[in-house]
């Protein structure tokens, strides 16, 4: 239980800092921390496979990609405007609206998710092994699996095309 709260606190805290930071590099690194905490939570949910691929793919590949881009673009700090220092909810325009919306969303989701059915104590036992996942993946969801590979191919091509620099 304690572990849960620790991981949860890390995750939430890191996420909050991600959106509060001005320096994008700090944001990326903090997000990696958040992912680490989530990975721990996955382990607690008897999903070792997911936990591992979370680290490997998310933290290891995607965040590294983000870092590449941030450093490539030499992303400047965000403009510091006067109202940057004020509290999030007091800033103007879409910011205020969006922030307010987020709070509302949180309440809604929370209410939605916890309202239904039993309190949801986990049934004991029945852990699914990696082998079982693999088997399911290649039989029941084989088609989706193949489609996903096409998706990745498309994304690759798209990324190359979009970022292509025109030779003058």
């Amino acid at each position: 239980m304690i572990i849960f709260y620790v991981f949860a606190a890390v995750a939430v805290g890191a996420s909050l800092l991600v959106i509060a930071q001005r320096n994008p590099i700090y944001s990326v690194l903090l997000l990696i921390a958040s992912f680490g905490a989530l990975s721990g939570l996955y382990v607690m949910l008897d999903a070792p496979f997911v936990a591992v691929i979370q680290i490997v793919i998310y933290a290891g590949a995607i965040m590294v990609l983000f870092l590449f881009v941030v450093m490539l673009l030499n992303a400047p700090h965000e403009e510091t405007e006067a109202d940057e220092r004020r509290h999030i909810l007091l800033r103007s325009g879409p910011l205020r609206f969006g922030a307010f919306l987020a709070v509302v969303l949180a309440c809604e989701l929370g209410w939605a998710l916890t309202r239904g059915g039993e309190s949801g104590v986990f049934a004991g036992g029945s852990t699914t092994s990696v082998a079982a996942i693999g088997r399911s993946l290649f039989t029941d969801y084989a088609f989706a699996f193949e489609v996903t590979s096409v998706l990745i191919l498309v994304a690759m091509v798209g990324a190359v095309v979009l970022a292509h620099r025109e030779r003058a």
Binding site: P94, L95, F97, G98, L101, A102, V104, L105, E108, W111
Partner: protein, 626 residues
């Protein structure tokens, strides 16, 4: 075989309309004349075979195809030949053929394509007219009725570069159309009342009934039909188009507006003689309108200065006689006058055409004179025609006009007879005024004169012979007896006794001679007397010259109000404001709406995202609430 009669001219039309302008004038003219001659020959053959049948059985019916079959309404395209139709087809095709021959010379100066166009229209007209008279039911007749109206418009406005010609064509067509409204309503009522449009069937269903005593359904029907006849045959109130129609080439005036198309109204009444006999109220109206028109047109013709206008008003006047005959129940006499009138009126028009041709286009009587010596053929034939129309004994006009007057008097319509006699006097006066002004006296023009070329001369001579002898066909009532079966009536033999008949004949002859004498005095011997008379009665003279201001009255009372209502009311208000306004208004509304809506596109991504999430929150909230 009956189909050939209208078909040959129709083929002539097709040929001339399609390739006419590429073949020589001689060829185009030959095609048209051959078509008419062929039609005449077939008509002769058809009438011959008709005569072979016994007097009571003289009907040849040839159905061709079933035209409309819809529920109870069955109309077939059937042609029927009976004595009445026989007379008509011989007149149309025979005189038509002569006029076609005449036209080859008269229209010679036109270009190739115009020449071909003229003949194609003329042939088309003949085809439609023949369909009109051969039709066995109202609908086929109406096809011809409308078709001749169309051709009349085309031919009146033949020289379409002249505005006066196109105006006249439009006027003719529109006035005809107004009459046609009445005609169509009449036909509709006939179908409602009788269930059929076939002439024989209508006659059969009405024969056993007694004539109406009050103004009932049959009277309404016949009155509506008569309205159509007033439009087509230029009677009061729809005669105004005929004088203007003189804008067309003279042979057109001769054929369409003298001999054939304008007689369609008379023919129509003759065709439905039994029907009209059952509506005495309408017949009275017909007779009164006829005789009033005759008188009115006669007075106007007295003071006109254009040679063709005089003849036009003369035609209106003679048509009035025919309607008078129909109105008093003398259907045979009316058709008889139609037949003789065709001869001498066509002759007079063609003669005037020869005069105009010789004078290179001059039509004003005041600028003519002394043509007697230079245009002998034209003069002599014209004189014969004038004597015929004046009703001089021995010539065709005398027999037919006298028959009408006799029947009128014998029927007890003394007032109508008096007016008819008065109009005879006027006829003689204005016709001989025309003769004397044109052919006698000193020459008042400078052109080099040549008499009618052979093609024209032949037509003139043949028609002159006809004007003399045609009347003898009606001796001792032969003509009318021949026509009797067509009318389905048993004409009361004129039981008024031979003595009355001779007296009346003498009266008409005296009147005719008196009229000629008056004309001799006023226009030959002492022109000054005529001019003094004109000055003395200057006001009356002016009214007559302006045709009783009928055109002006129509214009002020009908045309201008309609014009103004259309322009101010229908156009400016309904079309521009309401219809355009509605359409444009819709467009404006859409535009205004989109003006407002497009402000949603702020371009700010975050605003879009905000609205996205707002939507999510709301939808989620909604589902949670339920």
């Amino acid at each position: 075989m009956l189909l050939l009669i209208p078909l040959l001219p129709f083929l002539g039309f097709l040929l001339n309309a399609s390739v006419g302008r590429r073949i020589s004038k001689a060829a185009a003219g030959a095609v048209a004349c051959a078509a008419m001659a062929g039609s005449f020959a077939v008509s002769l053959a058809a009438v011959w075979s008709l005569m072979a049948l016994g007097p009571e059985a003289r009907v040849i019916t040839q159905p061709f195809f079933s035209w409309i079959t819809s529920g109870d309404f069955n109309v077939a395209f059937t042609l029927r030949l009976d004595p009445l139709a026989a007379v008509m087809i011989l007149v149309v095709s025979g005189i038509g053929a002569l006029i076609h021959i005449y036209s080859t010379a008269y229209m010679h100066e036109e270009s190739d394509s115009e020449f071909a166009r003229y003949f194609s229209y003329l042939n088309l007209f003949a085809a439609f007219m023949l369909v009109l008279v051969l039709g066995s039911n109202f609908l086929v007749m109406f096809v011809g009725w409308e078709g001749v109206g169309l051709c009349s418009y085309l031919l009146i406005g033949f020289w379409y570069q002249k505005k006066s010609a196109t105006d006249a064509g439009k006027k003719a067509f529109i006035v005809n159309r107004i009459g046609d409204v009445g005609f169509v309503l009449g036909v509709l009522l006939i179908f409602v009342h009788f269930g059929t449009l076939d002439f024989l069937e209508i006659a059969q269903s009405i024969a056993p009934l007694a004539p109406e005593t009050a103004f009932g359904t049959i009277s309404v029907i016949t009155l509506l039909l008569f309205i159509g006849a007033t439009g087509k045959s230029a009677q009061i109130p729809l005669f105004v188009w005929l004088p203007d129609a003189m804008e067309g080439p003279t042979p057109v005036s001769a054929l369409i507006h003298a001999a054939t198309m304008v007689t369609a109204g008379v023919y129509m009444i003759g065709r439905n003689a039994l029907l009209f006999s059952h509506a005495p109220q309408t017949l009275t109206i017909v007779a009164i309108v006829g005789v009033a028109t005759a008188l009115m047109a006669g007075t106007i013709g007295l003071v006109q200065n254009d040679i063709k206008r005089v003849l036009a008003y003369s035609t209106v006047s003679q048509l009035g006689y025919m309607f008078l005959a129909m109105g008093v129940g003398a259907y045979g006499a009316g058709i008889f006058h139609l037949y003789t009138h065709a001869f001498f009126k066509a002759l007079l028009f063609l003669g005037s055409g020869a005069v105009i041709h010789a004078l290179s286009g001059e039509q004003d009587l005041r600028r003519m004179g002394g043509l007697k010596k230079d245009l002998p053929i034209t003069y002599w034939t014209f004189l014969i025609g004038s004597l015929a129309i004046a009703g001089v004994p021995g010539l065709a006009g005398f027999f037919s006009k006298d028959e009408i007057l006799f029947r009128t008097f014998a029927g007890g319509h003394t007032l109508l007879w008096t007016i008819g006699l008065l109009t005879s006097l006027l006829t003689a006066i204005y016709m001989f005024r025309l003769v004397f002004l044109a052919f006698y006296g000193e020459r008042r023009h400078q052109s080099h004169l040549h008499d009618a070329p052979p093609a024209m001369a032949i037509a003139l001579i043949v028609l002159a012979i006809g004007s003399v002898v045609a009347g003898y066909a009606g001796l001792s009532g032969r003509f009318e007896r021949f026509l009797e079966p067509s009318f389905g009536l048993h004409a009361e033999e004129a039981t008024a006794g031979a003595g009355l008949e001779t007296t009346l004949m003498a009266a008409s002859s005296i009147v005719a001679v008196a009229g000629i004498g008056l004309a001799v005095f006023l226009f030959l011997k002492r022109r000054a007397a005529a001019d003094r008379l004109a000055e003395q009665f200057a006001g009356l003279h002016r009214v007559l010259e302006h045709k009783y201001y009928v055109d002006e009255i129509y214009d002020a009372a009908l045309v201008q109000p309609i014009h103004i209502a259309s322009r101010e009311g229908l156009w400016k208000i309904v079309d521009v404001r309401m219809i355009d306004g509605a359409v444009n208004g819709v467009a404006e509304a859409v535009r205004g709406g989109s003006e407002i809506l497009r402000r949603l596109q702020t371009g700010s991504v975050r605003a879009y995202a905000a609205s996205l999430f707002l939507g999510v929150v709301m939808v989620l909230g909604y589902y949670l609430w339920r």
